[in-house]
Symmetry: C2
Subunit: 305 residues, 2 copies
């Protein structure tokens, strides 16, 4: 199949990120009152600090582009995308806490517990997670109630003990008891894979795709979730801190086993090619319409920071 | 109106608590796998520790009895009740953390971060909050999708920045900057009031009550939420540690202003009578059917521990 000319992928990503950020900024604006509801100023400020920090917004991008594949564009998809980003950012705020990864900086800025305090960071994470469900459940997310409830159920499943939160618990455990290969795969599928998979499946659900298409998009999300993690491990293993813009070699230093470290760089690069091929194959039925998502798969695998 | 003879209120409460606990025990049973989902053992154990700890289960009780008022009994109401208890228990786990209230004991047992560790306690709270939305969104909660999505939206609103989490942020702030009377009322309405109000409104929603009845139950919930907090403040002010089974005088020691401390014991007792009268008046249209909820209002106001 011939490729059509597309703007560079990073500008597409940035364009989507802008729309998502505009909405997040509106949802988290600094009005202390929203109708009858009082929003305590310092907690709201901490939530804004954790969310409006110039992330790549990869997960929202995947929601939006997956939804577009089924001709669903507009506010509903954007709100689900923004809600998912709230879940991602809550997880970063909690992961950065002293009791977890104890990080002082994220994207060159003080982490939320450094800019505010630990209690406020815990509550900001809690509030963002809660707000994500609020955003999707709200009638302003103009989707049938059955669609909203399906998205809420899948998001909760992807974020909870059997998904992201459980994966983080396994990751902390892995520093003390190194998992075997199957354990690493399971951990990563939960910690980073579940939300990326949800992002793609959510697009299909928003677009009211049939069951086969939903499963196809979920599988596409799972494949690029694996690629995302492998690329991350590879960067940590091989890149210089100058290229990545953050410390590398952290996994080895923390005694964390990764697949890339276990099998070596060459194996990891071969795996990445295989995952991209698998992701592209899954998109075949959608032809040219899926060109952006194909780009996304390559971007995730080839990113150099 | 004549009162019919009822079993002692505490046995009704215990009976409901048993049903809720049986379901919570099932939802959080120790199977590591639930279908395709892996539940990391130590995280699941921490969640169980935080939930299956012999609480009074007042919030679930209010869900069940409010639903019964509109002839809704059975599994749907029980699942919503259990989900709400998960939210309540998540908030206790996070409130107990060293960065928040730094408590070592809860109901005579080590708090979750003492029995496990801080990171696991944070993740157990996160996972319980997430699981609450999962439980309600799940199709096993046999309610129309529109009803489930309404419950999810209201629960998120009650638990988030404009409700419980925001109230906890205000409460932490109050230790440094004492709020005025309006500030105390606002703080308490958010921190403890929002979930109790939701409990009663949720029962009406589950029972597909009309708008007026829903608002009536929400107002009933708000009134007993105020009574609950006032009774709590009063206990802290006047009771001996032996009666209450925990340290008293904590509010004053922490420099926390309460309405009871501000206006004195006599005022607080008059207020409590007024709130119970208001709650009972709100239940008037339901006659004998609301006898248990009337008991609940009195129990909340008169409890001695």
């Amino acid at each position: 199949m011939e490729e059509i000319a597309l703007p560079p992928f990073e500008s597409l990503l940035a364009l989507n990120a802008q729309s998502v950020e505009d909405l997040l900024r509106r949802l988290l604006d600094d009005r202390a009152r929203e109708g009858e509801i009082l929003r305590p100023g310092h907690l709201l400020a901490a939530m804004r600090h954790g969310v409006l920090n110039g992330g790549k917004r990869l997960r929202p991008f995947l929601v939006l582009e997956s939804a577009a594949l089924f001709d669903a564009q507009g506010m509903a998809a954007l709100r689900v995308a923004a809600a998912l980003e709230c879940v991602h950012c809550y997880s970063l705020i909690h992961d950065d806490l002293p009791a977890m990864d104890d990080d002082d900086l994220r994207r060159g800025q003080p982490t939320v517990h450094r800019a505010f305090d630990e209690a406020t960071a815990i509550l900001a994470g809690d509030s963002l997670l809660t707000y994500a469900f609020d955003i999707i459940a709200d009638a302003e997310t103009e989707l049938a109630a059955a669609t909203r409830v399906e998205l809420l159920a899948k998001l909760a499943r992807a974020a909870g003990i059997g998904g992201m939160a459980g994966g983080q618990a396994l990751d902390l455990l892995a520093e003390r008891i190194p998992p075997d290969e199957a354990g690493i795969v399971q951990l990563q599928a939960m910690k980073t894979g579940a939300l990326i998979r949800f992002a793609c499946e959510a697009g299909a659900i928003i677009g009211e795709a049939n069951r086969a298409d939903r499963e196809r998009l979920a599988s596409f999300g799972a494949a690029i979730g694996l690629a995302f993690q492998l690329a991350d491990d590879l960067l940590d293993l091989t890149a210089s801190p100058e290229t990545v813009g953050k410390a590398t070699g952290k996994d080895a230093a923390a005694g964390k086993a990764t697949l890339a470290a276990l099998h070596g760089e060459e194996w990891a690069r071969r795996q990445l090619l295989g995952l991209v091929a698998q992701a592209e194959e899954l998109l075949e039925p959608y032809g040219e319409k899926a060109a952006v998502l194909r780009h996304a798969a390559r971007f995730v695998a080839e990113r150099d920071r």
